[in-house]
C-alpha cells in the first residue's frame, strides 16, 4: 500500500503511528464506559429501591423491536469487522459494500428506535411530557422511563456519530486507493462501532428483559 501522506514527525514509523492511534481509541472507550457508568449507577439505585415498578415498567417496553435492534446491531458489527479484514487493494470494493451494509443496518436501528419512541409517546410513557401509569408503580416507572429515554437517546447519538464516521471511511475507500492511514482510521472507527454495540447489549439486558417471567 502506498503511504501517503507520510506520518507525522513525532512517530518513527507508520506502524508506531497506527499502534498509538489504537491505544488512544482504547483510552477514549474507557472514558465512554464511565459516561454510561453514571447512568448505570442511577439504574441500579432505583431498581434496588423500586424492584416491582421497574419490572412492571420494563414489561411495557417493545421487546420485539428491542430484540430486532440487537440482532441488527450485532450483524452490523460483524460487517464492520469483515470490512476491516477486506481492506486491501484487491478487495476494496467488497470492503465498501460491507461498510455500506453496516451503515444501512445502523440507519435501520435508528429508524426502529424512532418507531419505538413514537409508540411510547402514544402510550403515555414519556416522563415530563405525557406520562400516566398504574398509580401503585407510577414513581418507579417514571424513573425507569427516564433512564430508558436518556440512555437510549445518548446511545442513538453515538450511533449517528458512528454512522457518519463509517460513511466518511467508505467514501474515502471508494474514491482512491487505500492507504495505511485509511486503514488506521477504519480500525479506530471499527473499535468505536463495536463499543457502541457492546453498550447496547447491556442496555438491552437492563431495559427489555426484566420482569418478563412474572
Amino acid at each position: 500500500m502506498p503511504n501517503r501522506p507520510a506520518f507525522a514527525p513525532q512517530y518513527v514509523s507508520t506502524r508506531h503511528r497506527d499502534e498509538t492511534a489504537e491505544l488512544g481509541m482504547w483510552v477514549f472507550i474507557a472514558t465512554e464506559v464511565l459516561l454510561f457508568g453514571g447512568l448505570i449507577l442511577a439504574y441500579c439505585v432505583f431498581r434496588h429501591t423500586y424492584p416491582e415498578a421497574f419490572a412492571a415498567a420494563s414489561r411495557r417496553t417493545e421487546i420485539a423491536i428491542g430484540t430486532a435492534n440487537t440482532a441488527i446491531l450485532l450483524t452490523s458489527s460483524f460487517l464492520v469487522a469483515c470490512a476491516v479484514d477486506a481492506f486491501t487493494e484487491e478487495t476494496r470494493k467488497i470492503c465498501v459494500a460491507l461498510l455500506a451494509g453496516a451503515i444501512a443496518l445502523g440507519l435501520l436501528f435508528v429508524l426502529l428506535k424512532g418507531v419505538e419512541y413514537a409508540g411510547e409517546y402514544r402510550e403515555h410513557l414519556v416522563p415530563g411530557i405525557d406520562f400516566s401509569f398504574d398509580d401503585k408503580f407510577a414513581n418507579g416507572a417514571k424513573l425507569f422511563f427516564l433512564f430508558y429515554f436518556v440512555a437510549t437517546a445518548i446511545h442513538a447519538l453515538h450511533m449517528l456519530i458512528g454512522i457518519s464516521l463509517l460513511a466518511v471511511i467508505a467514501r474515502l475507500t471508494w474514491r482512491r486507493a487505500p492507504t495505511t492511514r485509511h486503514r488506521a482510521a477504519l480500525h479506530s472507527v471499527a473499535l468505536y462501532w463495536h463499543f457502541v454495540d457492546a453498550v447496547w447489549i447491556f442496555l438491552f439486558a437492563l431495559i427489555y428483559l426484566p420482569g418478563r417471567a412474572s
Partner: protein, 90 residues
C-alpha cells in the same frame, strides 16, 4: 476479487445471535432473582466475544488489556461504593 468472511468472525456472529435468542427465551422462564443474573451474565459473555474477536483483543498484549479493562474496573468502583450507601441505609 475473491474474499470470504474469516471463520472466527463468522463464528462469533453466529454465537452472538444464538446468545441473543437464548437470553430472550430465558427471560420468559421464571427463575426468580436469577433472571437478572442470567441476563447480565449472557450480556457479559456477548460483550466478551465482541471484545475478543471483533475488537481483536485476542491478538493484543497486556497493555491493551489493561487499557480495555481500566474503564470496567473503575465502573466497578463507582457501582460498588455508590451502591454501598443505598443498600445499607437504615
Amino acid at each position: 476479487m475473491r474474499w470470504h468472511p474469516p471463520l472466527p468472525l463468522l463464528g462469533a456472529w453466529l454465537a452472538l445471535l444464538l446468545l441473543l435468542t437464548l437470553t430472550v427465551t430465558l427471560a420468559y422462564v421464571p427463575l426468580g432473582h436469577f433472571n437478572s443474573s442470567v441476563a447480565l451474565a449472557i450480556a457479559a459473555t456477548k460483550a466478551t466475544i465482541i471484545g475478543a474477536v471483533f475488537m481483536e483483543l485476542r491478538r493484543r498484549g497486556p497493555r491493551t488489556f489493561i487499557f480495555a479493562g481500566a474503564g470496567l474496573f473503575w465502573l466497578g468502583i463507582l457501582l460498588w461504593l455508590g451502591m454501598m450507601d443505598f443498600m445499607t441505609r437504615t
